[in-house]
């Protein structure tokens, strides 16, 4: 069939006739699941925004109002809250899958993916603050204060973000506007991410010499995205049965600037970065390490190596990386006591060591086959 429309041809070539490897498993569903969750979060968030007021004296009350008085408000809030965790679960699965299959060989996809990751982290953080509970407020104080380490402009930036001289209602308004607008920007970048990916097609474990030994993306893999419904059903069931299991008890106490919680911890998806931040006594170096825990992976896109892959060694290192990240996440929610104060820097070192080892091997393996 021939379509005489350049836009339709463009879309057709990416979604219908894209030559795809025969070996794509359910691991490749993570990306489409993330797209679905993003749309889901935007929709539930938009409805929640109808009833939410970003005023320091009313924010917490409007959240309770949504939970208790708005028809089905509690459902939207629970889904939005747990949807964030669902997004990060699949985000991490997606990233690890990318590491397993060395998807950083697709440079533009990798770069845009990491950018999306950073933006989603910002988004999740700002959403966390909007509840205006104890943990929200003090997390905002801690995280925004980190920006003060920026030379020369740091204090000015912090004051600008606070819109005052402390975390106040003005900060809340600032975060609410950004929290609402940022997903649309993320949506655009996700679209770019998708276009970059479907320009080349996915990496896979099977090497194909040409497109004639592949299958069309549709209906094989487009239809396979329907498997995501299993995860959605699981998500709905678990959200309704355990609505706040992934949250913190301090999220049910209204923000009190006069009293900080005994123990401040971020959401589970930030714990590894939090552990790295705390592992280093110096504030500046801690913030740098925090940033580098993500920025390190940008360097993978700077290496020109497409075909020389030491897949088994890489698999071993990625598994080690996953395990060390998991331990770091656990350490991030532990108190600052013996022996956690020893393990945190140790595993931070292991985390960066493994990341740079993977990078080094990726750079070097090309020379092995020269």
């Amino acid at each position: 069939m021939k379509i005489n429309n350049s836009l339709l041809n463009f879309v057709n070539g990416m979604l219908v006739t894209l030559p795809s490897s025969k070996t794509l498993t359910l691991s490749w569903n993570f990306g489409s699941m993330l797209g679905m969750v993003l749309i889901f979060q935007i929709l539930t968030g938009t409805f929640l925004a109808f009833y939410y007021t970003p005023d320091s004296l009313m924010a917490f009350s409007t959240v309770q109002y949504i939970m208790y008085e708005v028809n089905f408000g509690w459902v939207f809030r629970i889904f939005h809250f747990n949807g964030a965790s669902l997004f990060f679960i699949f985000l991490y699965l997606h990233i690890f899958k990318g590491l397993f299959f060395m998807s950083y060989r697709l440079k533009k996809v990798w770069m845009s993916g990491l950018t999306i990751y950073l933006l989603v982290m910002m988004e999740a953080f700002m959403g966390y603050v909007l509840v205006w509970a104890q943990m929200s407020f003090w997390a905002a104080v801690v995280i925004t204060s980190l920006l003060s380490v920026i030379p020369i402009w740091g204090p000015t930036i912090v004051t600008w973000i606070w819109s005052g001289f402390g975390v106040t209602g003005a900060t809340l308004k600032f975060f609410f506007v950004l929290h609402f607008l940022l997903p649309w920007a993320i949506l655009v970048i996700v679209l770019g991410h998708l276009i970059f990916l479907h320009s080349t097609g996915s990496t896979s474990s099977l090497y194909c010499h040409g497109d004639y030994d592949k299958v069309c993306f549709s209906p094989e893999y487009l239809g396979k995205d329907a498997y995501n419904i299993v995860i959605w059903l699981l998500f709905i069931v678990l959200s309704l049965i355990y609505p706040f299991n992934l949250g913190d008890a301090e999220m049910f106490i209204e923000a009190d600037p006069m009293m900080s919680p005994v123990h401040i911890v971020p959401e589970w998806y930030f714990l590894f970065a939090y552990a790295i931040l705390r592992a280093i006594p110096n504030k500046v170096l801690g913030v740098i390490a925090l940033l580098m825990s993500i920025v390190t992976f940008y360097f993978f896109a700077l290496v020109n190596n497409y075909t020389s892959c030491l897949t088994k060694l890489n698999k071993f290192l990625v598994f080690m990386f996953i395990i060390s990240s998991t331990i770091l996440s656990w350490l991030g929610q532990c108190t600052v006591e013996d022996p956690f104060t020893i393990l945190s820097p140790l595993f931070s070192f292991i985390y960066f060591g493994l990341a740079y080892l993977m990078l080094f091997i990726f750079m070097s393996s090309k020379l092995l086959f020269k």
Partner: protein, 90 residues
């Protein structure tokens, strides 16, 4: 002939060469909907991801758990008095 080659713009005479590919089909009356289900869903999955690859993650996971357990116990011990110091108190 697979329709994907045609859908991708190839034409007769230029559909490419394929080697080593085998095809088979079943008549509708020969099909069993659940044939191989348990094998592929459970047995083969277990073989692929556990039996053939356990050395990539199971020893490391066990090591991580032992470290986690040790750390928790050490932390608990560090937060309480040493009973031995008070063994002679009465």
């Amino acid at each position: 002939m697979r329709p994907s080659a045609v859908a991708m713009g190839k034409h007769f005479g230029n559909l490419g060469k394929m080697y080593g590919e085998h095809r088979f089909a079943l008549a509708p009356n020969e099909q069993k909907a659940y044939k191989g289900f348990f094998d592929q869903a459970f047995v083969r999955t277990f073989k692929t991801y556990v039996w053939d690859q356990w050395y990539y993650y199971i020893p490391q996971t066990i090591g991580a758990y032992l470290l986690y357990d040790w750390a928790k116990k050490t932390n608990v011990a560090a937060n309480r008095k040493n009973p031995a110091d008070f063994a002679n108190d009465e």
